[in-house]
């Protein structure tokens, strides 16, 4: 419906303008962090490590670091922006308007996806200064990056729905996302792990996303790529349903 499309564009546009207005805080820091990873892990330490998964170490970690930046940027964008809207009560502008819950969710998620992909592209461009690679499976790369950005944007939205103070917005990234990302095969192949820990690692959804993306870029993966897509799909359905349920209940929005 045209009216809902206009409402979606209004929310998404507002979200995109927001992070572009403060690009020094939203686009540059993740790129700087990744440059440090490239220099320290890829260049200095990587030279001593040699090859991993059949590629030099720098090339091996680039897909994981791109995914890591997409995940944290998409998640952080929606969680901080939506919570900020709640905190300033500007979310009421949308709540009093005839905007269905799914349109509101889609609008905020679009902001997270665009920021996640912009940061991912910037990190990719910067990584070319440290290594060179060609993309093996473009459709896989596009699908994984898009689905992952959507998935973590929805995750950030749920986090913000539950958050009652700014500290709550930082809890999940600190205690859940960062450990899962570091243990998700960004810096190593799980083949290096003992069999038991390889099995445990399979339970980490970020491992599947990172490896599916690595498959798209380098053509190698520690996991079954089809299974990785199924996993992303299942998580996406569950999180979207959760977010819509929270919106329907008005969690933290309507008394």
């Amino acid at each position: 419906m045209l009216q809902y499309r206009i409402a979606f564009m209004a929310i998404a546009g507002k979200e995109i303008r927001r992070f572009l207005r403060i690009w020094q805080q939203t686009l540059i820091p993740p790129v700087m962090t990744m440059v440090l990873y490239f220099i320290i892990f890829g260049n200095l330490i990587g030279r001593r490590i040699g090859e991993m998964g059949g590629f030099d170490y720098m090339a091996f970690i680039v897909p994981g670091l791109i995914m890591m930046s997409v995940i944290t940027s998409a998640y952080g964008n929606v969680s901080s922006s939506f919570f900020g809207n709640k905190f300033q009560r500007s979310i009421e502008e949308i709540l009093v308007a005839p905007v269905p819950n799914y349109v509101m969710l889609a609008g905020f998620v679009a902001g997270g996806v665009v920021r996640g992909i912009m940061v991912g592209v910037l990190v990719t461009v910067v990584s070319l200064a440290f290594t060179s690679f060609t993309i093996s499976h473009v459709p896989v790369v596009v699908a994984v990056i898009l689905l992952t950005a959507i998935l973590f944007s929805v995750g950030g939205f749920i986090n913000a729905m539950y958050a009652t103070k700014f500290d709550d917005v930082a809890l999940v990234p600190t205690f859940v996302l960062t450990p899962l990302t570091y243990l998700g095969g960004v810096f190593y192949s799980i083949e290096l792990l003992p069999a038991f820990w390889q099995g445990v690692s399979q339970l980490n959804p970020i491992l599947h996303m990172v490896n599916a993306f690595r498959f798209g870029v380098l053509g190698v993966s520690d996991v079954n790529v089809v299974f990785a897509f199924v996993m992303i799909g299942v998580f996406l359905v569950v999180l979207v349903a959760w977010a819509l349920w929270l919106l329907d209940r008005g969690k933290g929005l309507r008394s």
Partner: protein, 324 residues
């Protein structure tokens, strides 16, 4: 023709058990300028919050222009413009961006949105501020911007929750003139305010809510007709001791040396002046102590408070008797 607003048996109990609304009924006709008054915590904002879908009702029905909120919530929202009590902007956004976005939330095409933005920003003297960030605006400008935002999609019913709070008298009066104009143009307005002068000068109908119940719902004219006394304050010169000894007109000396007195229905001010003359007290100036509606409002609310206090005392006494 359907009513602009029709509320039936509206109840709200918040988590924790506080019963904010105890089954109110309210009808506002199309084209009306309606005041919903009450002391703090009476249930005004809860009522307006439920109408605008910021608060979930416990039970009851709300119809806006004949449309049931339970059945077609989005259609109801299209009819409503909401101007909340608290500023709720992203203060880092520009005036123009906020309004374009708000029009977008209502699904308005950009050309129409821009036309309305210019119209209302000019009418409320904010056009020159359109590219300023909201945080740069004064309190009065923010209040006016909230009105523009509430009107941008041309609603049938405009809800104003204390729209002139903290605004200086000059701007307040210019806002009143604007609100009267849009009301004459056909927009129904529901207003809550603590400035009873505002309600008296703008509104035709009025409801007073207290403890989650409507204690009166009538026309402003009828309400004022109920007044059986007016209190005046006179600045005076001379010895008032013999005057006070007469105990007429409930005269009381105030801390600032002025004299307060009440004139009941059927009495006239001439009788008061005769009394002053008889006691050789010179009247320098005379004025009503408060606005008439304010006086009546205070009386009605106090009466209701007393009723509640008596009821609570009766319940406590019955409970004590039962325990004994």
């Amino acid at each position: 023709m359907t009513h602009a607003l029709e509320i039936k048996d509206l109840r709200k109990t918040y988590e924790g058990g506080f019963e904010a609304l105890k089954g109110i009924d309210l009808t506002v006709e199309r084209g009306d300028f309606f005041a919903l008054l009450g002391p703090n915590g009476a249930g005004k904002s809860t009522t307006l919050g439920i109408i605008s879908d910021l608060v979930r009702k416990s039970s009851g029905t709300v119809r806006v222009c004949g449309i049931d909120q339970n059945k077609e919530p989005e259609a109801v929202k299209r009819m409503l413009g909401v101007v909340p009590q608290e500023f709720n902007f992203n203060t880092f956004e520009r005036v123009h961006d906020i309004l374009v976005q708000q029009a977008g939330y209502y699904g308005m095409e950009k050309t129409l949105a821009l036309k309305n933005i210019e119209k209302y920003l000019r009418q409320l003297e904010l056009w020159d501020k359109r590219f300023d960030q909201v945080r740069m605006l004064s309190g009065g400008m923010k209040r006016r911007l909230m009105i523009v935002r509430g009107l941008i999609h041309e609603p049938e019913l405009l809800i104003l929750d204390e729209p002139t709070a903290g605004v200086d008298i000059e701007i307040r009066r210019s806002m009143w003139r604007f609100l009267e104009r849009i009301n004459k143009a056909g927009v129904t307005i529901i207003l809550t305010t603590h400035y009873l002068e505002e309600a008296e000068s703008l509104c035709r109908n009025i409801a007073i809510i207290n403890h989650g119940e409507i204690i009166t719902n009538t026309t402003v004219k009828d309400l004022l007709r109920q007044m059986d006394r007016s209190t005046f304050v006179a600045d005076i010169q001379g010895d008032v001791t013999p005057l006070l000894a007469e105990t007429a007109f409930d005269m009381q000396l105030r801390d600032d040396g002025s004299l307060a007195f009440q004139v009941r229905r059927g009495d006239s001010l001439n009788q008061v002046f005769e009394l002053f003359n008889r006691h050789r007290v010179e009247v320098i100036s005379i004025r009503p102590r408060t606005n008439r509606l304010e006086e009546l409002f205070v009386d009605l609310v106090q009466e209701d408070q007393q009723k509640h206090a008596d009821k609570a005392a009766a319940v406590a006494s019955a409970a004590a008797g039962g325990a004994a």
